[in-house]
């Protein structure tokens, strides 16, 4: 295995082991997202809301707020004891550092995403069309694409705002406009799945999510060096 991959995987593993021992980001993100689902359900009278697009919108609003909260903690372990400086002083390529953090973030967002989806299903149901295994897998894939998109953008901007005092607020302000296409595509894909149980007839939105994820990850791999060595 190349040093690039070894470094990236070492960073991913380190982040996942740290999170397993701290149990902070995943429970916090899941709880926050679940609360948004509950609040939105109460506001819109759960059960009375039938339109798939509205239900999918509620789900993705909850995921968006929760994921932004989650990616805001990307470099939390590096802030402790100034470990970021230790990483930057090591020969790890900045792109490998980004990739390692990105992969960890995908896992750390997908896990609470599943919890949020479960709470949503409990309150709203996912529709009879999603009862098949294929539909459930498609929904999981859409969720994963969403987590990857948020992780791709979030890891980059978390690095950009790392040393700033108002980083949490700034991260949200910077990220939300860029997340609009992903949020829209995720919401529409979910609505299609809830209605038809398959994405075969309307592949535009999931395809947009794939392209979005690829573009942001590739761009971030290139520019991350300049972002963290500012």
């Amino acid at each position: 295995m190349s040093r690039f991959r070894i470094s990236a995987l070492a960073i991913t593993r380190k982040d996942l082991v740290s999170e397993w021992r701290r149990r902070e980001t995943v429970p916090l993100t899941a709880l926050f997202g679940a609360l948004v689902v509950v609040v939105a359900s109460l506001a819109l009278e759960a059960g009375a809301v039938e339109a798939e697009r509205v239900r999918a919108g509620i789900l993705w609003t909850a995921l968006t707020f929760a994921f932004v909260l989650g990616v805001g903690r990307t470099f939390e372990s590096e802030r402790e004891h100034d470990a970021m400086r230790g990483l930057l002083a090591s020969p790890v390529e900045r792109a490998a550092l980004y990739l390692g953090k990105f992969l960890a973030n995908v896992v750390l967002l997908a896990a609470p995403g599943i919890v949020i989806l479960a709470v949503f299903a409990l309150l709203h149901g996912l529709g009879s069309a999603t009862a098949t295994a294929q539909a459930a897998l498609s929904l999981a894939a859409v969720l994963l694409l969403g987590a990857a998109g948020f992780a791709g953008v979030g890891t980059l901007f978390a690095g950009l705002t790392l040393g700033l005092r108002a980083r949490d607020a700034l991260l949200s302000v910077l990220m939300f406009p860029l997340l609009v296409p992903l949020l829209l595509a995720g919401s529409r894909s979910t609505a299609v799945l809830m209605r038809d149980g398959t994405l075969a007839g309307d592949a535009f939105w999931p395809a947009l999510m794939v392209v979005y994820d690829l573009v942001f990850v590739v761009v971030a791999l290139i520019v991350f060096e300049y972002v963290v060595e500012k």
């Binding site: 740290s18 372990s77 004891h81 100034d82 470990a83 230790g86 930057l88 002083a89 020969p91 500012k230």
Partner: protein
């Protein structure tokens, strides 16, 4: 002989604030340089630039003839950095921390090397304890182990003795002495003159982002260094031209 570190006309700005101004400095390979100066003099910034953690606003830096901008990873593989922070992860054990960094440095014998250093620095019995349970001094010992893990040719030390008890400070001094005997280059930033003079071949004084003195340490006693320090730094000396102020007092 190749210079371990060369800075030519290096300046570093953080917004409007100037942390380093037009610094010229050459550190030959195998030399122990003590970088002295008060808080805010620019010592940490100079080390951060040498460590390639941040980029210079102006000027050129070369490490063992390599350009950190173009050969960043190659340069960083030659460096070991100890700061007043440990760079350690609190939710990993001491051994896990060192093994993690060993992966980043591409060491094949990372585990053995980590265990050896933990033993040398008296941390072996605590190897499986989470670092967040460590005292400041124990964390500093771990930081030293991390910096020495890959046998760096250039050691950059920023107030490395802070937090160490007398025994650990003695062990670290011995380690530094053996590093010097092995021909490694050491640059140590400190505001404590005694520490700075103890092992140094060369002394550089920094004040307000400028090098105000650079010269050999062999003939300097603690008193003469203190006198020099007060004259160049304590009195607020801020020479415009480095060349006017270099050399022995």
């Amino acid at each position: 002989m190749t210079a371990a570190l060369t800075l030519r006309g290096v300046s570093k700005y953080y917004g409007d604030a100037c942390a380093l101004h037009d610094v010229d400095l050459t550190v030959e390979e195998g030399v122990f340089l003590s970088l002295l100066g008060p808080n805010g003099a620019g010592k940490t910034t100079l080390l951060a630039l040498a460590a390639t953690v941040t980029r210079a606003s102006e000027g050129n830096i070369s490490v063992f003839g390599l350009d950190p901008g173009a050969d960043g990873s190659e340069v960083r593989a030659l460096l070991g950095l100890v700061s007043h922070e440990s760079f350690a992860y609190g939710h990993l054990t001491a051994l896990e921390n060192l093994e993690f960094y060993a992966h980043l440095y591409g060491l094949r014998d990372g585990r053995e090397r980590s265990l050896d250093l933990l033993d040398t620095l008296g941390l072996y019995p605590r190897r499986d304890d989470l670092v967040r349970t460590f005292s400041r001094g124990l964390q500093q010992r771990l930081a030293i182990a991390r910096a020495l893990l890959h046998n760096p040719r250039l050691l950059l030390l920023d107030e490395p003795f802070s937090g160490l008890d007398a025994h650990a400070a003695g062990t670290f001094s011995s380690l530094l002495s053996s590093c010097c005997r092995e021909g490694r280059t050491v640059i140590m930033a400190t505001h404590r003159l005694e520490e700075g003079l103890l092992l140094a071949d060369t002394i550089a004084l920094l004040d307000s982002g400028c090098v105000v003195f650079e010269g050999g340490a062999a003939d300097l006693s603690h008193d003469s260094l203190e006198e020099l320090y007060l004259a160049r730094v304590g009195a607020g000396s801020h020479p415009a031209h480095l060349s006017d102020t270099r050399g022995r007092p």
